[in-house]
Structures are given as structure tokens and as C-alpha cells.
């Protein structure tokens, strides 16, 4: 569904992505993992056209997306930092995004799920960080899109909201949506991801199932397997 070919991204002297080749299958949940600065967010932003690749190509359903914008009708994106126009009310923001996409959002269920009923009429500057993240989730999941791209969706969520978010994600998986997610919560990856992509210094270190990674590193716990990748200094000998 999304095919990335030889993707390079350079910011000045720093090369963040060093020739990434990746295919994301339709209807699967793919988790992108990696330490801070490994290029996860840059990869996601490149797919969305927020970051312009230095070289390489990204195709959505076989067509290059470089300098295109209509394909984003089919993608719902959850940004890492939930900051919105401070003087707008939550309900106004929801209508704004609906208006921008020319799509009617189905948000009533999500308002109940994340207990946002009393926040709808509040201005965004008066909301706590966790509530803003719930609004962020609401804005993403209120549209029925084939693809959901989520950048650190769990940051700032309380345990109840986290459980509800996971149930929402499972619902989307059952609906055969293509989900791309970056997270540092390894247990969640084990729970929800069909496939994982491990990025290290701008390259793909591993792509496959969680079980495959465990087997490769003779571990039973994914967190330990990832810790061993990072601590055993495999960085210089990356093989894709």
C-alpha cells in the first residue's frame, strides 16, 4: 500500500534517513521502533509530505506522492505534540478540521470514550496536556480513513484513556485499517503490531514480526531484545 524506495533525508550535515526501503502492507498494523533520533518521525513526516525527501521515492497505491496532496484525504494523522489554536473551543476545532477535509467526522462515540463531553465547550488553552492528547486522538479517529498514522499516540494519557485507546486501535485493526504507529511502549507493540520496523541511525535494522526479532536475539522478552540491540553496539554493523 505504501512503498518507500531508497529514501534519504539530510538536514544540513546530518543525514537522518540513509536509504530506507520499506513496504507497508494494507490492512496491517506496523509499529516503527527505534531510539530517539533514529528517524521515526522523519520517516512518518516524509510519507505525509510534511518533510521533503532529499532523494528517493514514496508511493501510495502505486503512485508517487511527492508534491501531491490529494492522497492525504485517505490518511488520518496524529502528531506527536498536541498543540492547537489556543483561543478556539474544542468543538470549533473539530468543525474546523471537518470543514478542511470536507468530511463529516463521527466524533460523538469518541467524546464518550475519552470523556470529553465537558471539554467540548472549553478553549484549548485551558486544557491539560492529557486532555489535549485526547482531543488529538478525537481529531484523528473521527474520520473513517483507510490509513492511520500515529506518532507517539500514548504520550500524556492516563491508564484509563490508554486502555480505551488500545481498544479503539483493536477495533480499527478488525476493520482492516492500515495503521502505522511509533511508540516507546514495547508491550503495546507486542499486543497490537502485526509487523515491526526497527530503525537505527536512519537505517532499517529489522523488519518482520516481533517473534522473529525475539528468535534472532535468543530472547523471550521484546524489551530485553531491543535493549540488547542498543547496548551490544550493533550500530556499526547494520545489516538490513
Amino acid at each position: 500500500m505504501i512503498d518507500i524506495t531508497n529514501l534519504h533525508k539530510r538536514y544540513g550535515k546530518i543525514e537522518v534517513l540513509k536509504g530506507v526501503n520499506l513496504s507497508i502492507d494494507a490492512g496491517k498494523t506496523t509499529a516503527i521502533l527505534g531510539p530517539n533520533g533514529s528517524g521515526k518521525t522523519t520517516l512518518i513526516k516524509s510519507i505525509l509530505g510534511i518533510v521533503k525527501p532529499t532523494t528517493g521515492d514514496i508511493c501510495y497505491l502505486g503512485k508517487s506522492i511527492l508534491n501531491q496532496w490529494l492522497y492525504r484525504n485517505e490518511i488520518a494523522y496524529l502528531p506527536q505534540i498536541a498543540r492547537f489554536p489556543e483561543n478556539l473551543k474544542v468543538r470549533e476545532l473539530v468543525h474546523f478540521i471537518e470543514n478542511l477535509r470536507d468530511q463529516k467526522g463521527n466524533y460523538e462515540d469518541l467524546v464518550n470514550l475519552f470523556e470529553l463531553k465537558f471539554s467540548l465547550e472549553k478553549r484549548l488553552r485551558n486544557l491539560s496536556g492529557g486532555t489535549r492528547q485526547k482531543v488529538n486522538l478525537l481529531l484523528t479517529f473521527m474520520f473513517d480513513c483507510p490509513v492511520y498514522i500515529l506518532d507517539e499516540p500514548t504520550s500524556g494519557l492516563d491508564p484509563v484513556a490508554l486502555i480505551r485507546f488500545k481498544s479503539l486501535l483493536n477495533e480499527k485493526r478488525l476493520q482492516q485499517k492500515t495503521i502505522l504507529i511509533t511508540t516507546h511502549i514495547i508491550h503495546m507493540v507486542e499486543e497490537i503490531a502485526d509487523e515491526m520496523v526497527f530503525l537505527l541511525e536512519g537505517n532499517i535494522y529489522y523488519q518482520g514480526s516481533c517473534e522473529g526479532l525475539l528468535a534472532n536475539h535468543h530472547e523471550t522478552d521484546l524489551e530485553k531484545a531491543i535493549a540488547s540491540i542498543l547496548s551490544n553496539n550493533h550500530v556499526e554493523n547494520i545489516k538490513i
Binding site: 510534511i50 496532496w69 492525504r72 498543540r83 483561543n87 478556539l88 474546523f96 478540521i97 478542511l100
Partner: protein
Amino acid sequence: MLKILKYSFYDQVRSKWLIVYTLFFLTAGYMILYLGTDLSKAIASLMNLTLILTPLIGTIFGVTSYYNSREFIELLLAQPLRRNHIFLGMYFGFSVSLSLAFFIGLGIPFLSYGLWYSHEVGNFVSLLLSGIILTFIFSGFAFLIALYNENRLKGFGISILFWLLMAFVYDGIFLISLLVFEAYPLEKFAIGISALNPIDLSRILIMIKLDLAALMGYTGAVFKKFFGTSMGMIISYCALAIWCTIPISWILFKVRKKDF
């Protein structure tokens, strides 16, 4: 673009700083009008305030507004929208709301004072137009400075320096250069240099309209002598219109390839 403009406008007009800005002009307008007796003198006094304050507020609020929207821009860029439309919508939403605050702030005192029954309507419109054009120009440069500088502190520093340069330093350099080269014919040089600063241009424009051009010294007198009142005004307006397009075109050029 209109959708973004509309919401950017809604967001701005609810900002308390914009209300303070409106109230400031409202108070200044009433004070100057009711402390003096002459509408023409009130317009000349408010001209100085407008020429200093509208560029300053356009610059500072513009940079602040961009940095506050920085993360939200990422969300907008992920929507099915053209990049150009997002930034044009944000820029016009911001500039229009700031211009409206200025328009209301000065408009109410003058209307209630009886502007319509005087001969100063044209002069007042020139003052309003200059303030609005300066707001558009300096907001545009503020957005541009913020686009080029991810570091907020650096962005604020550069924007204040830019305002200082245009509002004060430029005139100083201009005067010194006139003194240094006083032995040479300087008329064309003076006109050219004035056209390179929108604040000077606006000052000349209002002065010509108020028929006070000779009072502002060399450039005003030269403008008046060279072009006469109507030609001088047309040329000033054209130069200001070109000034308006510079930051907008530059913003569009910059965002085409920028990573967010």
C-alpha cells in the same frame, strides 16, 4: 485558503492582546482628538504613532502567532490541502484581524468626533490605509523571519532588529548619507532610498496628503517637487503595493521546500 483564513481570523480576534491593541488606539484616538481641537493636527499626531506602532505590533505579534501555531501547522500540512493555501490563509487571517483592530481602534474616535462632517475624510483614510498596509507588510516579514528561524529566541531578536532598522536606524543612515554627500545632487538618490523603506513611504504619503510635505524635510519636499500631490501619492501607493507582494511571494517560495 478561505477556510484557514476564517479560522485563523477567529483565533486571533479572541486573543486578549488584540483587544489590548484595539483599546490602545481607541484611547489614544480619543485623547488626541479631545485634547486638541483640530482634526488635521490630530491626524498628523496619530500618524507618528501609527508609523511606529503598526510595524512593531505586526512584527512582534506575527512572530508570536507563527511560533504558537508551529505544531498546529504540522497537523494542517497532513490534511488534504495545498501548502500555499495553508500559509496564505494563516497570513491573511492574521493580517486582516490585526488591521481590523487598528481600523476599529482609530475609526470609532474619529467617527464619534464628527469626521464625516469635516474636510478631513480623505486624510483620515490615508492614515488608515497606511497603517493597514504597514500591518500587512510587517506581518509578512514577521512570518518570513519565523519561517527561517526555528529557534524562537533568535526569531524574536531578528524581528525586533528588523523593526528597529526600518523605524529608526534607516532614517539615521539616510540623514548621515545626505550630510556626507551634500555637495552632490541628491534628489533621485533621496527618492530611491525612501522607496526602500515602507515606513518612510507611508510617512511621505500622509504628509503629501495633509499638504505638510515641506515640514518633513528633504524627502517630502523632493517628492512634492518631483511628482506633485497626486502623482506623488500614486507612486507611493504603487511602491507600497510592491512592498506588500515581497513578503508574500517570499513566504510562498520558502514554504515550497521547507521541512516541518
